[in-house]
C-alpha cells in the first residue's frame, strides 16, 4: 500500500503481512471507483488558498525534468503533537500535471481509521485554461474495501479520494487534509521523495513544551533541523528528483530507494541508534507477548504434535502445523493492525494474518519448551534502513531461539544477536519455504527483533546458493526428421521452490498440465506433452519434483545435409536487461544455483560436425559454466549458473550485461549434425 502513494508511505501502516501487490490493487480499485461516479463539481471563480496560488505560480522547472509526467510543486506537512501525545497532521500538496499520464499523480487521497479520525479534506484545482475549481464534500468517494482480495477480510482502514476537474496536462491539483494520527506511535515519517520530481517539500513538527525530538534519515544525508520557535522544528528541501522505476530491469523496490526522514518524539529523552531500535522492539514485544499466552488447547495440541524429538524435530512439527493448518485471514481494527489476536482465538478458528501466525507459533513453541519471538520485517528488501530506526515494515515473522550448542544442518536461516543468542528466522505465513530456510524476499533485509531484553535490529541472513537450487535433467532422442522425444525431471530445492510450489498447490491436475504446457511453449514451437507428474508440493523436506515426457516435432532444423540442434533443450536462466545507463542498484530475486544436464541421442546416419564453444565466466557475484560434448552418439549439454549476491551496485551493470549476453548466446546456440 505504502509504495503506491506519497501520503501513505509517510505513515506507519498495519502489519498485515502477506507479501503481495496489495497496494497496487487497492489504488487501482480506488481510481476505478472514482471513475464509476459522476465527476467532480466545479464552481466557477472559486477562491483558492494563497498557498495553492503561490505554488502554482512559482519559478520554472528544472530542465532535466522535461520528461516528467507530473511534478509536486509543493508538499507541506505540519504535525502538531498535543499535550497528551496525540499527533495531528495537516498535509498540503500541489501537483502540476505535465503529461496525460501525470493525471495518475493528481488523485487526491487520504486514509483514515477508527483511531485516525479525518477532520477535514479539501481539494482545489486549476484547469489548463486557468479556471479555478473547489470541490464539495459530497463529491468525494469513500471506500473501506482496503485489502480486499489479498486476504484482509476486514480492516478499518478507509480512504477518501477525489477526481478533480481540470486535471489535464498544464492543470494543477491541490489538496489539504487534517487528521488525528494514531495514538499508538510516537513517530512520524516524512517521505520527501516521489516517483515524480518535487519542487519544494516542507515538514514541521510542533511539540508540547519540554518534549524531545530525534530525526533519523534513510537514504539521504541528514538535513539540519531548524528550531523555529521553542518546540517547533522545521525541515525543508527543494528540487528533489523523482524516482521512476518503470521499465528498469532488476530494480529494487521504490521504497528502498526513496529518501525519507522519521522523527521520533517523546516527553522523555530519546535514545539513539541501536538503543532506539531496541526501544522499538521492546514496544512491540510488550504489545504482542501477552497475546501469546495460549490456553490449554494450544499447549496440549503443541505437545501432542511435537512429540519427544529433539529441538529440530519438535520445531518442524509445529512449523508444519502453522504453515499448513492455519489459513491466512486478516481482521484488523484499530490497534489490531499491529497487535495480534490472542493465540487461543487464532488456534480455535485456524486462521489469522502474519502477526497472528507468528504469535501462535510463539505460543505453541513455548508449550514445548522452545522460546520464540517476533521479527518485524518488510518483504521489500532494503526498505528498512539500519540508519533510520522506525516502525517501518509490512510483515511479521518469528525468531526461534536455538539452544546453546545445538547444531543441525537444517538450521540455515540463523542470526546471532549481540547477546550471543542464536535465533532461527522462520516465516509461518509462507507455506512453501521449509523451516530452517527463509523466503528469498526476506533474505538480506533488516528486521526488528521483538524479544524483550534481547530486542534489537538484526539483518536476516542470505542463504548459501547451494541451498537453493534448480536442477533440470533430461534424456532425449532425436529422429532424422527433426523430432525430439524424451523425459525431463526438474528438481527445485529450498526457497527457490517457493513460487512454483505455491502455483502447483493451488492448481488442479488440468491446471498443472496447462502450466507445464505454458513452460514448454518457451522452448518448443510445436510439441505434445506426454505424461506429466508433480510430486512433493507440500512436503517441504523434499525437493519439488516435476517429471514429464515431451515430443517436439520439427525441433531440429534441416539445412541441406545438416541438422541444427539446440543442446539447451528446456529452461532458461537468462535475464532481459536493457542498454540504458544504470542509475539504481541491481536487485535479484534471490541467490541460487541452476544446473542443467541434458543428453540428446543423435539419429543414426548423422555425426556431430560442430558444437558451440564452451562458456566459462566468473564475474565475482556469479559464475557460469557451460559445455557441449559429443560422445557415444549423443550430445551432452551441461551447465551451472551460481548467483552469489542479492544486490549489486549500479557500476556492476556492465559486467552483468556481459554475463547475461553470454548466457543468452549459450542458450540459443546450435550444434550441427551432418549426414554421413
Amino acid at each position: 500500500m505504502r509504495d503506491q502513494t506519497k501520503e501513505r508511505r509517510a505513515r506507519t501502516s498495519p502489519i498485515s503481512g502477506r507479501p503481495s501487490l496489495r497496494g497496487a490493487r487497492i489504488w487501482t480499485a480506488a481510481l476505478l471507483m472514482v471513475g464509476c461516479v459522476a465527476m467532480a463539481h466545479a464552481s466557477k471563480d472559486a477562491q483558492l488558498p494563497d498557498w495553492v496560488l503561490q505554488a502554482a505560480t512559482d519559478a520554472p522547472l528544472k530542465a532535466d525534468w522535461r520528461d516528467a509526467k507530473a511534478v509536486y510543486l509543493l508538499e507541506d506537512t505540519l504535525i502538531t503533537v498535543q499535550p497528551d501525545g496525540r499527533p495531528v497532521e495537516r498535509y498540503r500538496a500541489v501537483v502540476r500535471i505535465l503529461r496525460p499520464q501525470g493525471r495518475d499523480e493528481a488523485h487526491p487521497v487520504t486514509w483514515f481509521t477508527k483511531d485516525e479520525k479525518l477532520e477535514s479534506f479539501h481539494v482545489w484545482s486549476i484547469g489548463p485554461d486557468g479556471h479555478h475549481y473547489a470541490m464539495k464534500d459530497s463529491e468525494y468517494i469513500e471506500s473501506g474495501d482496503v485489502g480486499a482480495g489479498e486476504g484482509i477480510l476486514y480492516g478499518d482502514i478507509r480512504m477518501k479520494v477525489a477526481s478533480p476537474p481540470g486535471a489535464d496536462p498544464g492543470g494543477v491539483v491541490a489538496w489539504e487534509y487534517v487528521k488525528q494520527l494514531s495514538p499508538y506511535f510516537a513517530e512520524d515519517t516524512w517521505g520527501f521523495q516521489n516517483r515524480v520530481p518535487t519542487v519544494r517539500s516542507v515538514y514541521e513538527i510542533d511539540l508540547p513544551g519540554g518534549w524531545h525530538e530525534e530525526a533519523v534519515w534513510a537514504r539521504h544525508a541528514r538535513v539540519e533541523t531548524a528550531e523555529i520557535t521553542p518546540g517547533h522544528f522545521r525541515w525543508e528541501q527543494a528540487n528533489i528528483d523523482g524516482i521512476d522505476l518503470a521499465d528498469v530491469p532488476l530494480a529494487p523496490d521504490w521504497e528502498a530507494l526513496a529518501g525519507r526522514m522519521t522523527v521520533h518524539f517523546s516527553a522523555d529523552p530519546l535514545p539513539e541508534g541501536d538503543a532506539l531500535w531496541s526501544k522499538i522492539g521492546n514496544w512491540y514485544y510488550t504489545l504482542a507477548a501477552p497475546r501469546s499466552e495460549g490456553g490449554g488447547d494450544v499447549a496440549s495440541t503443541a505437545r501432542t504434535l511435537a512429540g519427544d524429538g529433539d529441538f529440530m524435530a519438535k520445531l518442524a512439527k509445529v512449523a508444519d502445523f502453522m504453515q499448513q493448518q492455519i489459513r491466512y485471514v486478516g481482521i484488523e481494527i484499530g490497534i489490531g493492525g499491529w497487535q495480534p489476536h490472542p493465540a487461543q482465538d487464532i488456534f480455535r478458528s485456524r486462521y489469522g494474518d502474519c502477526k497472528d501466525k507468528a504469535t501462535l507459533t510463539v505460543a505453541m513453541l513455548d508449550a514445548v519448551g522452545i522460546r520464540g519471538a517476533w521479527v518485524s520485517v518488510d518483504d521489500r528488501r532494503g526498505v528498512i534502513d539500519p540508519n533510520a530506526p522506525s516502525l517501518f515494515g509490512n510483515h511479521m515473522i518469528a525468531a526461534i531461539e536455538i539452544p546453546k550448542g545445538y547444531e543441525n544442518p537444517r538450521l540455515q536461516a540463523v542470526v546471532t544477536t549481540k547477546s550471543g543468542r542464536r535465533y532461527l528466522i522462520f516465516d509461518p505465513t509462507n507455506p512453501y519455504v521449509p523451516v530452517g530456510q527463509l523466503p528469498d524476499y526476506e533474505q538480506g533485509s533488516y528486521g526488528v527483533l521483538a524479544a524483550g531484553d534481547d530486542s534489537q535490529l538484526i539483518q536476516l541472513p542470505i542463504l548459501n546458493p547451494d541451498a537453493e537450487s534448480i536442477e533440470r535433467k533430461a534424456k532425449f532422442e532425436l529422429a532424422a526428421d527433426g523430432t525430439l522425444k524424451g523425459d525431463v525431471t526438474v528438481l527445485r530445492y529450498g526457497a527457490l521452490s517457493d513460487g512454483m510450489r505455491g502455483r502447483l498447490a493451488m492448481d488442479s491436475d488440468k491446471e498443472q498440465r496447462e502450466l507445464v504446457e505454458r513452460l514448454l511453449q518457451h522452448d518448443f514451437s510445436t510439441f505434445t506433452l506426454g505424461d506429466e507428474k508433480v510430486a512433493h508440493v507440500r512436503e517441504l523436506d523434499k525437493p519439488l519434483e516435476m517429471d514429464y515426457s515431451v515430443t517436439a516435432p520439427l525441433y531440429a532444423k534441416g539445412a541441406g545435409s545438416l541438422l541444427l540442434v539446440r543442446p539447451r533443450v528446456v529452461g532458461s536462466d537468462a535475464e532481459g536487461l536493457d542498454e540504458k545507463p544504470r542509475k539504481v542498484p541491481i536487485s535479484f530475486t534471490g541467490v541460487g544455483t541452476w544446473r542443467d544436464d541434458f543428453d540428446v541421442k543423435i539419429p543414426a546416419g548423422y555425426t556431430v560436425d560442430d558444437v558451440p564453444d564452451p562458456v566459462s565466466m566468473d564475474v565475482g557475484f556469479a559464475t557460469y559454466h557451460s559445455e557441449v560434448k559429443a560422445e557415444g552418439g549423443a550430445l551432452h549439454y551441461k551447465r551451472e549458473y551460481v548467483l552469489k549476491k542479492l544486490e549489486l551496485e549500479p557500476g556492476e551493470y556492465a559486467k552483468l550485461r556481459k554475463l547475461e549476453a553470454a548466457i543468452t548466446t549459450d542458450e540459443n546456440s546450435d550444434a550441427v549434425l551432418k549426414k554421413q
Binding site: Y133, R348, T528
Partner: protein, 671 residues
C-alpha cells in the same frame, strides 16, 4: 401508495458474487457419508470445490432474499477461494441478517461458526452507500464441507426481483431457486423505475428471461416460480474466449411495462431513437458548419469523407478525460445537442457519433444510429429486456444507395470501418420503419494489414545496424493511435520499442525513431525504428541467424492441448514481412531454410520464402487469418497451425566464415 425503485445494481452484484449462497430450512443438512469421504468429484474432476446444494428463495411481498450453500472443499484452492464469504448489499435500505454457518470435517466433526460477521463499507458516494457483510468459516480443511446461510432483508419500499445466475465458479450438484413476486393484481402500490434514458416507467407485469440447461423448465404456480437444476457445470475461463457470461445459464426476473420482448424493444427503441434524433438534429448551426465543410458538387462519398475528417478532430473524452456537466458549465459549455459538441470540440464517444449523424443529415444524407454491445464484454441478448446492455453507438449512412457503417465514436477509426469490438454484433438500429434488429458487418483480413520491412547490415563481428519500417492499417493502427490519445507520443514510442524487443532476436536493440500518421487516420500508420546490437550465434565453423527477424522470439499462440470454449481472435488480419540483410565480406550463406506454405483452408494461410542475392539474405513471410471465430472443435487445427508456423519461424540461416570472418568473429566473443 409508494414509489418503488428497482435495485438493479444490488441484484447483479449479489448474483455474480463468487460465494453466492441460498436459503435453507431452519436445520442444517446432514451430509451423507459419501459426501464426507469424498476427495474428488467424478462429475467435476478438476474442481477445487463443488456446490453440493445451493438454494435461493426470494419473496418480494415480505422483502427478503435467503441464501443457503453447502460446499465441499476438494483442494487447497477450494479452501482459499470459498472459506471467506463476502455479501455485498446496498446500505440504507437493506441489511444482511441471520448469518449462520458451520464447517464439517471429513470425520464428521462439526465446528460451528461462532465468529462475528463484519459490516464493511465498500463505497460511499453522496447518499449512496454500498456495503458488504464479511465472515470467514472456521477451521476449513481440504475435505471439509462448509455450510452457511444468510438473509438479505430490504425495505418495504423496495422490490427486488432476483437475477439467478446458475453457473458458478464451481460445479453445482443441485440448486433450487424460488421466487414469490409481488402480487401485482392485488397490490395497491405502483412500481416505478427509470429506463436507460432517464424516463420514468411504471411496471405492471412480471417478466423473466431464462437460459436453462436442456430439459429444465421454470415451474410457475400459485406459490410463485420454482426452478431446480442439477449438475450445472462451472464457467471455464480460457484465453481468447468470447464473452462467456453471455452464454451462461441464468434466470432473470424483472417487473416491466412491456407485454412482450417484441414490444419492449420496439418501445425502448422508439425512446432511444427519439433521443438520438433530438441530439443529432441537423440544426441551423450544424447546417452552417457542414456547408463550410462540404462542396456543392461533392458526391456522397466526398461529403462523408470531409464530415468524417472534421468529426475526427473533436476530442473524444472517453480516450482522454470525461468532464462532468458542472465542469462544462463552469467553462461555459453545455451538452444538449450535436451542435454543442461541435462548438466545444469535445464529447463522449456516443455524442461524437451523434454529431457525425447530425452532420451527415445536414449534408442531405440519410443517417441512422445503431446501438451495440462490445464484443469483448458481452453479446446482445434480446430475451433480456434491458437496454443498458447496448453500450455503444455507431452510425449507418446511405451513401450512393449503399449503407455504410461508421464508428466516429472511436477516434481515428478509419473511414467506413468499425472498431473490431463492434463488428459482427447484433444490435438495434434506427431505420425508416422504426427501430430494427441488425448485425453489423464483419471485417476482412484486408481491413487489418501490416507490412514490416527490415533493411539490415551484419558485420563480420556480429554487429547489426539498420532500419525497420512498420506500416499498418485497421485494428492495430487504431490501437496505437488511441494509446497516443490516452498517453502521449513519447509513451507510445516506448511501448512500441518494448513490443518489438519481445519479437526480434536476442541481442538486437531497437529504438523508435519516429511515427508518420499517428494522428491521421486517412493514411497507414508508419513506424520507423533504428536497429543496433548484435545478431546470431556461432560455433567454430559457422554462424547461425534466425531466419524470421520479426518472429525470432515470438511464441506460438495456444499452449494448452485441450480447449472447452470457442476461440475469438478479435479480427482477421494479414501481416507481411520483408527482410533484407547484407552480410559482411567473409560471411557466406551455407544453407537457407526451405520455403513453405501452411494453410487452414478458408481460414488461414502462412507462407515463408528465403533467398539470397550475392551477400544479401532476403526473407518474405505472410500470415493471414481470415476468420475471427473458431469453434472449440476447430481448436486442434488452429493450435497445430500456429505451432507449425511457429516452428517454421524458428528455422535458421547457416553462414560459414572465411579466415577473415573468423578473425573478426573471435574478436567479438565473450570472455
Amino acid at each position: 401508495m409508494v414509489t418503488i425503485l428497482h435495485r438493479t445494481f444490488l441484484l447483479a452484484t449479489l448474483s455474480l458474487f463468487a460465494a453466492i449462497p441460498a436459503w435453507c430450512a431452519p436445520t442444517w443438512t446432514q451430509p451423507t457419508p459419501e459426501q464426507l469421504k469424498m476427495t474428488s468429484d467424478p462429475a467435476a474432476p478438476d474442481a477445487p470445490a463443488v456446490y453440493l446444494f445451493h438454494e435461493e428463495t426470494v419473496d418480494d411481498n415480505v422483502h427478503f432474499h435467503r441464501v443457503y450453500a453447502q460446499i465441499k472443499i476438494l483442494t487447497e484452492k477450494g479452501k482459499e477461494d470459498f472459506s471467506d464469504i463476502e455479501i455485498p448489499y446496498e446500505g440504507g435500505g437493506s441489511d444482511i441478517k441471520a448469518v449462520e454457518g458451520r464447517t464439517i470435517h471429513a470425520d464428521g466433526t462439526v465446528i460451528p461458526f461462532t465468529g462475528k460477521p463484519y459490516s464493511k463499507e465498500l463505497v460511499k458516494s453522496g447518499d449512496v452507500k454500498w456495503m458488504a457483510k464479511v465472515f470467514s468459516m472456521p477451521d476449513v480443511q481440504v475435505g471439509s464441507i462448509i455450510e452457511y446461510r444468510w438473509e438479505l432483508q430490504y425495505s418495504d419500499d423496495w422490490y427486488m426481483p432476483p437475477r439467478f445466475y446458475l453457473q458458478e465458479s464451481a460445479f453445482t450438484h443441485k440448486a433450487h431457486y424460488h421466487f414469490v413476486p409481488l402480487n401485482l393484481a392485488t397490490t395497491t402500490r405502483i412500481l416505478t423505475g427509470k429506463d436507460a434514458f432517464g424516463k420514468e416507467t411504471v411496471a405492471n407485469r412480471l417478466l423473466y428471461y431464462s437460459n436453462l440447461p436442456p430439459g429444465v423448465k421454470v415451474r410457475a404456480g400459485m406459490d410463485g416460480y420454482d426452478l431446480v437444476v442439477e449438475n450445472v457445470p462451472a464457467l471455464t475461463e480460457e484465453e481468447f474466449s468470447p464473452p462467456l457470461d453471455s452464454y451462461a445459464y441464468q434466470l432473470l426476473f424483472y417487473y416491466s411495462q412491456a407485454s412482450s420482448g417484441v414490444d419492449f424493444w420496439k418501445e425502448e427503441g422508439k425512446v432511444w431513437s427519439k433521443d438520438v434524433d433530438r441530439f443529432a438534429n441537423p440544426s441551423d448551426k450544424i447546417r452552417q458548419t457542414v456547408a463550410g465543410i462540404v462542396g456543392v458538387g461533392d458526391s456522397d462519398d466526398q461529403k462523408l469523407r470531409k464530415i468524417y475528417a472534421a468529426v475526427m478532430t473533436v476530442e473524444n473524452t472517453r480516450l482522454t478525460r470525461e468532464r462532468s456537466a458542472e465542469e462544462n458549465k463552469a467553462a461555459g459549455l453545455r451538452v444538449k445537442t450535436a451542435a454543442d459538441i461541435w462548438e466545444q470540440k469535445r464529447g463522449s464517444d456516443d455524442e461524437i457519433t451523434r454529431l457525425f449523424i447530425a452532420m451527415a443529415r445536414a449534408a442531405g444524407l440519410k443517417a441512422w444510429a445503431m446501438a451495440v454491445p462490445e464484443r469483448n464484454k458481452a453479446l446482445f441478448n434480446g430475451g433480456w429486456l434491458d437496454w443498458s446492455q447496448l453500450e455503444d453507438e455507431i452510425a449507418i449512412v446511405n451513401a450512393g444507395g449503399k449503407e455504410v457503417f461508421f464508428d466516429p465514436g472511436q477516434r481515428y477509426c478509419e473511414f467506413g470501418k468499425l472498431h473490431w469490438a463492434h463488428t459482427q454484433m447484433l444490435g438495434i438500429r434506427q431505420s425508416d420503419s422504426g427501430p430494427a434488429l441488425m448485425t453489423t458487418p464483419g471485417a476482412t483480413y484486408q481491413d487489418n494489414q501490416m507490412l514490416r520491412t527490415a533493411d539490415l547490415t551484419l558485420s563480420a563481428d556480429g554487429t547489426l545496424k539498420g532500419t525497420v519500417r512498420i506500416s499498418m492499417g485497421g485494428a492495430e493502427a487504431l490501437r496505437w493511435r488511441q494509446e497516443a490519445l490516452r498517453t502521449d507520443e513519447q509513451e507510445v514510442k516506448k511501448d512500441f520499442e518494448t513490443l518489438l524487443r519481445g519479437q526480434v532476436p536476442d541481442g538486437v536493440e531497437i529504438k523508435t525513431n519516429h511515427f508518420v500518421g499517428l494522428t491521421d487516420n486517412t493514411t497507414a500508420l508508419l513506424v520507423v525504428m533504428d536497429v543496433n546490437g548484435s545478431l546470431g550465434t556461432q560455433t567454430g565453423k559457422r554462424v547461425f541467424l534466425p531466419s524470421a527477424f520479426f518472429e525470432a522470439r515470438e511464441k506460438p499462440l495456444f499452449a494448452a492441448g485441450k480447449r472447452e470454449n470457442p476461440v475469438d481472435m478479435h479480427y482477421p488480419y494479414v501481416a507481411q514481412d520483408k527482410v533484407d540483410l547484407v552480410l559482411a565480406p567473409g560471411l557466406a550463406i551455407e544453407s537457407l531454410p526451405k520455403g513453405t506454405s501452411i494453410p487452414i483452408p478458408q481460414m488461414a494461410i502462412y507462407k515463408a520464402d528465403y533467398s539470397n542475392a550475392g551477400s544479401t539474405y532476403h526473407q518474405e513471410r505472410v500470415m493471414a487469418i481470415g476468420n475471427t471465430l473458431f469453434k472449440a472443435a476447430e481448436y486442434p487445427q488452429l493450435r497445430e497451425f500456429f505451432q507449425k508456423t511457429g516452428a517454421q519461424d524458428q528455422e535458421q540461416v547457416v553462414l560459414t566464415r572465411s579466415a577473415e570472418g573468423s578473425a573478426a568473429g573471435d574478436a567479438g566473443k565473450s570472455e
